[in-house]
Amino acid sequence: MTRGGWRILVSVLIWLLGAAPVAHALDPATVRQLAAEDSDAKIEAINRLVTEGDAAAIPLLKAMQDDRLQMLRGRLLIVGDDARDALTGEPVSVGAETPETIIIINRIRGVLGTALAALRLQVPVRATRLTAARALAVDASEEMLPLIQRALTRESDPEIKSLLAQAAAVLELKSPDSEARRRAVQVLGTSDNPQTKQLLTVLLVKAADGSFAEPEVAVREEAQQAIRDIEARFVVPRALGTLFSGLSLGSVLLLAALGLAITFGLMGIINMAHGEMLMIGAYTTYVVQVLFRQYFPGAFDAYLLAAVPAAFVITALVGVALERGVIRHLYGRPLETLLTTWGISLILIQLVRTIFGAQNVEVENPIWMSGGFALGGDVVLPYNRVVIVFFAAFVVLLVWALLNRTRLGLNVRAVTQNRAMADCMGIATPRVDWMTFGLGSGIAGLGGVALSQIGNVGPDLGQAYIVDSFMVVVLGGVGQLAGTIIAAIGLGEVNKLLEPYTGAVLGKILVLVFIILFIQKRPQGMFALKGRAVEN
């Protein structure tokens, strides 16, 4: 072979060794082991990648976490918009074949999460490091100690530093040196993670032979103190959490009942089809969502904002049609109204079932409504519930303003209080009737939008809320918006305060018994009203 030939061969070798794989200097055997059948082998491979501590493993493990690590003809691929070889990073054409996904189970998902977090401690972005440190605070494993300690020396951010110190302390709990253990317990006492408490409680476990899991008395006392400290920090958030869940249940009840407070409360119509107005509102939300997904996928997260007016208009129209078509012929005949509206509710349910099918439809929370706001400790306020509380307040304000600040509101109040006199004064009472009924139905539609965000959207949605709605309106006092609001929030709070002690079933029964007793004592509800409802 000539000199030139050698040179070419050498340069090709250098190119092969250097250029292509340099970005992925991971051990091929370890990477291949990620695809092993056995979970233990997979976990061993992940841990080895963590010990190596190479940031190049991050995209690989991330792909595995997202089910994008796939196998095709014995070759590991990272599949995204295109498929790339997991080791070399070169594009691979998949063709018509479907690569097999490397299946991960919960156990591996947990290990992957902490492994990724440990590796991400080296990332320059603060937010990423903070999330990583949070994930590691309780769940770190032995392999991660070097990475954590290295990160501790480099880290300048105090928040991340304290989280990392906790993570290191958790691992230190196993140290043979009792002084190190005591210091670790002290560090853990400053944590506001509820799982830390569990780690400390384990130290105090007494075995059958009378010995403790933690042999040193001083460390045990320190642990007891730390547990008390942690618990003290939980008291306030937990109480706030309970109050909030009551408020949230209350606002759901309020949104469901507010429309009824107008149609039944103000107008005196026993509208059994009220639940179906909620359902139509929820289905409108669904349809708007589908339209957005199809025509404006970019603005998908805003679909809910469009659904609010759409649901109001559509349910209001249905309500007006109902009033004009049927209910106005039945004024003053409550029994017939009850039966007819009940029949209408069955027709509406079957109609929706025929159009959309008997199965529930999926209404997705927009991104800004998924997840929650951590209140401290283990208390999380889900965004969808926070939004609903504010939405309920908004709807109440809207109704209040409509009834008290507009001409329509003035007419409604006049007709409610004395129909004959209002008629004499030149108010077109039939027009006020259909507008009020439309308003009540539209408000129910808004309630439906809110309900679609927390529960099922199916043809039977309304059935679940009709009894609760009547309960709220009757308890609050027929014809009084303020009564409805107080009754809804009150019922929500009472329910949620009782539930931890009595359980959901008995809690509900107790609330019902309470309402029955209350209505016995005060049949007119919390707030009595002077007006047509009373005169009749």
């Binding site: 869940s245 159009i355 099918g357 929370n365 998924s370 951590a374 283990d378």
Partner: protein
């Protein structure tokens, strides 16, 4: 009835309407007479309206699909099957009425139907009294064995116990504390009674088991999820959910939003399948589990064929929801196995007589869509089934993460309920 008396008692009906009615009635009578000679009538008793419609409607459809398929192959004993579909409307007493009507009036040879245990309990006396035949396609709590019923869904030892065993294993997370969460009625209560006894036999203390119930249609799971969180601070916790029907959606939504991840607190459900997850955004639920004897995602030629058959049928019959996104699930498979096994048994018995068919059912086998050869037990009227445990994927399907090595024999009388050891593993009455 003499037509003249009819005429006088309905004198206010105009003559024309009466004639029309009589003609139509006679026509119907004639057509049913004409058909009776060369068809076998079968009853389909599933709720097509009311709260259970969400789950039961597809069982009616899959049964009709199987009928079409059997008829296309020439029917049973050379006769075509003629389905009689009734709607008991999720109303338990109405189930009994409709069952009576199917057996005594329509003279059906067999009935395929029921979902909830309470509906099955309400029709049971009717089937025993009239010596009818019922195929019940849903997993249930056991504690029942009737000569007139064949149970093609799972008994507790074919679903609940393997699932709990998996969660106790290393791969399942090694759970030490248990939340048994259910809807307040017979199936969850009985299943949890069995599970509690089972967990105790494995050395789990009472303080590590938290049993909770919610009313039917409960939709506010804030407190329950917060309690699960608090409970899980005491050690590795798993939740066993027997929540039934619609309530699952708000429960899973709350889980997702409160940030309770499957890797920390896995939830295994016995009443949640592909169909129930249709109304849920499954991305936050990845990793939660379900235990069934069939999943839509199972690989194999039998399942491919079953899925294709269903997709084509749904498109042809324009079944809402399924025509665009066909979904198969465990009870559908069980219903499909049921009707096919019945057809085989009738062929074997050469008769549709209840007692002869019951005798012929013993030991009947069928290559099920799950890929397993399901066998009807010689004695106890339950199928031998394989158990699969699946994890929810982001697309609402399940990854099978564990399965039994082969079919398991059903134990309708769970050994974990005291007194059951004396009960015989076959129907009392013969």
């Amino acid at each position: 009835m003499d037509s003249s008396t009819k005429q006088t008692s309905f004198a206010y009906i105009s003559r024309r309407y009466f004639l029309l009615g009589t003609v139509a009635g006679l026509g119907l009578l004639a057509s049913s007479w004409a058909q009776a000679a060369d068809t076998i009538k079968i009853g389909v008793l599933h709720s097509l309206s009311g709260t259970m419609a969400i789950s039961e409607t597809v069982l009616k459809d899959v049964t009709l699909m199987a009928v079409e398929e059997i008829n296309a192959k020439g029917g049973v004993m050379g006769k075509k099957l003629e389905p009689v579909v009734v709607d008991p409307a999720s109303n338990w007493p109405l189930f009994a009425e409709k069952a009576r009507q199917l057996i005594s009036q329509d003279k059906v040879a067999v009935v395929f139907g029921c979902w909830t245990s309470v509906s099955r309990k309400s029709v049971l006396p009717v089937f025993e009294e009239l010596n009818g035949l019922l195929f019940y396609p849903v997993q249930y709590e056991g504690e029942e064995l009737s000569k007139n019923v064949f149970y093609t869904g799972a008994a507790p030892n074919q679903q609940a116990i393997p699932a709990v065993e998996y969660l106790m294993s290393k791969d399942g997370g090694g759970a030490k504390r248990w939340v048994l969460l259910g809807t307040d009625y017979v199936y969850p209560r009985t299943t949890n009674k069995i599970l509690r006894a089972f967990l105790k036999s494995k050395g789990v203390a009472d303080k590590d088991i938290d049993e909770k119930y919610t009313p039917f249609g409960h939709n506010d799971y804030q407190t329950i999820v917060a309690d699960i969180k608090k409970f899980s601070a005491g050690g590795k916790t798993a939740v066993v959910s027997t929540i039934n029907g619609d309530s699952n959606v708000p429960f899973y939504k709350e889980l997702g939003n409160q940030g309770l991840k499957a890797k920390d607190v896995p939830v295994v459900a016995f009443s949640v399948g592909e169909e129930e997850l249709r109304g849920v955004d499954t991305k936050p639920l990845v990793g939660h589990l379900a235990a069934w004897n069939y999943f839509q995602s199972l690989k194999g030629p039998e399942n491919d064929a079953f899925r294709k058959k269903w997709a084509d049928y749904a498109k042809k019959k324009n079944i809402a929801g399924h025509k665009d996104k066909p979904i198969t699930n465990d009870p559908m498979e069980a219903a499909y196995i049921g009707i096919n096994m019945w057809a085989q048994a009738v062929e074997k018995a050469k008769s549709t007589d209840t007692n002869k068919v019951i005798a012929a059912m013993a030991g009947q086998t069928f290559k099920a869509p799950s890929g397993i050869v399901s066998k009807m037990d010689e004695k106890n009227h339950h199928l031998h089934k394989a158990v699969f445990i699946g994890e929810v994927k982001a697309d609402g399907q399940f990854n099978v993460v564990w399965k039994t090595s082969g079919p398991i024999k059903a134990k309708p009388w769970s050994p974990y309920i005291p007194g059951n050891d004396k009960k015989k593993d076959e129907p009392e009455k013969k």
